[in-house]
């Protein structure tokens, strides 16, 4: 067999694909959160950052297509493995159901995963395509003029005075709707819960976990998930609490 056969057709191969794509997605969501936390700084920051990403042009598309492939493989593997797992129990289920030590997070991976998928679709429609809440979509808001240069690793990538999309205000408008904000909070909560199992499961799947450091790995997974959830909670939370406001409103009240 060739490697494609090993990875796409065997049980362990599919699990490895799921772990590798899961790790890629973890890398993405962490980077995405760190980028978004710039909303707690001057609007120059997040608006300059968004402009910088769009200036990447073809590179941005490489990243987008790479992420799409990772998501598709992850969900494909999750789905085929789950269907096989259902069949493997056989025609008669246990009459007395009992769990010895499998965690709740591990037993709800499919549920949390598919809710996260629904969230991803909404999230793209909301902030990337403008299909949801289109009135306050970045393309329909007044342009933002950069007050200062936006620098990445010391290089000024977006110059002061550049007219850019006002992502800052779009996000603030978006989360002023409590329903939208709460949906985001619940969805990232479920994603954090997904990662509570996924984070250390991926080390086991890739063959790196042993009892000698499993405790430390578990602690790291819990700490990671709490930090990830807190960071994601902060953004809609701050808008709901009135700490972050759309720019025009902020200017009027100053």
């Amino acid at each position: 067999m060739n490697p494609v056969g090993f990875f796409f057709r065997s049980s362990i191969g599919r699990k490895i694909l799921m772990a590798v794509t899961g790790a890629i997605l973890i890398g993405f969501v962490v980077g995405h959160l760190v980028g978004n936390l710039q909303i707690f700084s001057h609007p120059d920051k997040i608006n300059g950052y968004a402009q910088f990403l769009h200036q990447l042009g073809p590179l941005l598309w490489v990243a987008r297509i790479g992420l799409l492939v990772a998501v598709v493989i992850h969900i494909w593997a999750a789905t085929v493995l789950t269907l096989e797992n259902r069949r493997a129990r056989g025609p008669v289920p246990y009459g007395f159901k009992h769990t010895i030590r499998a965690t709740l997070a591990s037993r709800t991976m499919r549920l949390t995963g598919y809710v996260v998928l629904a969230f991803i679709v909404y999230h793209l429609a909301h902030f990337t395509l403008g299909a949801a809440q289109s009135g306050t979509f970045k393309a329909n808001l007044p342009k933002y003029t950069m007050a200062q240069d936006y620098a990445v690793a010391g290089f000024p990538v977006v110059k002061a005075g550049t007219q850019v999309d006002d992502v800052y205000s779009m996000v603030a408008h978006g989360f002023q709707s409590p329903a939208v904000a709460i949906f985001y909070i619940v969805a990232v909560g479920l994603l954090s819960f997904h990662l509570l199992h996924g984070f250390d499961s991926l080390f086991q799947t890739l063959g790196w976990r042993t009892h000698r450091w499993a405790g430390a790995l578990r602690a790291a997974a819990v700490a990671f998930c709490l930090a990830y959830f807190a960071g994601n909670l902060a953004i809609p939370g701050a808008v709901l609490a009135g700490k972050v406001k759309p720019r025009a409103v902020a200017a009027a009240t100053r």
Binding site: A88, R101, H211
Partner: protein, 270 residues
């Protein structure tokens, strides 16, 4: 739990899966089992119930057993949802009635897995494990007089780890306990106990690839790293071996795909 030295007799309601034969419908049937010694084993309790059933002219409960000392892996059934019943690191034959309380309802069912079809009542056909073993769970060795002891050096830590894996008695509790009826702990134990010692190296890659592909073909599920298997294992074999199996499989599949092969058409080491 009744105190270990208690001698007060207990009575339980036994809720047993009764199924006349393969592919026949089955159902749970309740039996009252009275005045049991807390120090009798679970299988002895079944023997007593069966004696009473036989005396009444009813069909006794079919259950598998052999050594009755936890080394053969025959006595496989699920008690109150846990393969081999209450207790850690024991087989059904090592469960004693003192693990239950007077008046308990105790549910006994066969191991449930598509790859382990029910033959009758609590007995399942676990020959799927034999097929996995035959696919690669062996080494090719010179048969003849016993080799010199210590002719092949084996590092002590490797030998210890290999022996941990080799304690597998092939009972199938890992499959029965797994939420996905996966055989990964069994295959991991068999792959590791040979793969950790020098004698197992010649066939190491072939072994892991063949055993995993046979496991997949037989309809076992896929591991989701929930570690129910190692918790139910009567020998408490660690799921660390599953991580090791994953790594072994990954490396072997890359070598099988890219390692150079002999291109000569004749001669060679034929």
């Amino acid at each position: 739990m009744v105190a270990a030295n208690s001698t007060a007799p207990l009575s339980i309601t036994l809720r047993v899966w009764r199924q006349a034969g393969p592919n026949q419908p089955g159902q749970f049937v309740d039996y009252q089992s009275k005045d049991l010694s807390p120090n009798m084993s679970f299988l002895e309790m079944l023997d007593v119930v069966n004696d009473q059933l036989t005396a009444k002219g009813e069909e006794p409960i079919a259950f598998a057993h052999d050594c009755r000392e936890g080394i053969c892996g025959t006595c496989s059934c699920t008690i109150n949802g846990k393969p081999h019943g209450p207790g850690k690191g024991v087989a059904t034959c090592q469960v004693y009635m003192r693990s239950f309380r007077d008046g308990d309802v105790v549910t006994v069912e066969p191991f449930r897995a598509a790859a382990f079809p029910v033959i009758k009542d609590l007995i399942t056909d676990r020959s799927a494990f034999d097929k996995i073993q035959q696919a690669g769970g062996y080494i090719t060795a010179r048969a003849g007089s016993a080799p010199d002891a210590n002719a092949i050096p084996v590092p002590k830590p490797d030998a210890d780890l290999a022996m941990d894996a080799a304690t597998c008695i092939g009972c199938g509790a890992c499959v029965a306990a797994c939420k996905n009826a996966s055989a990964m702990l069994f295959v991991a134990a068999k792959v590791s106990h040979l793969g950790l010692v020098p004698q197992g190296q010649a066939e190491r890659d072939k072994r892991v690839l063949a055993m995993v592909s046979t496991m997949d073909e037989l309809g076992f599920g896929n591991c989701t790293n929930q570690y129910e298997c190692s918790a139910a294992c009567p020998k408490l074999i660690s799921h660390d071996f599953i991580a090791r199996l994953n790594r072994d499989y990954f490396n072997a599949s890359l070598r099988a795909s890219f390692q150079p092969e002999s291109q000569s058409t004749g001669g060679g080491a034929g």
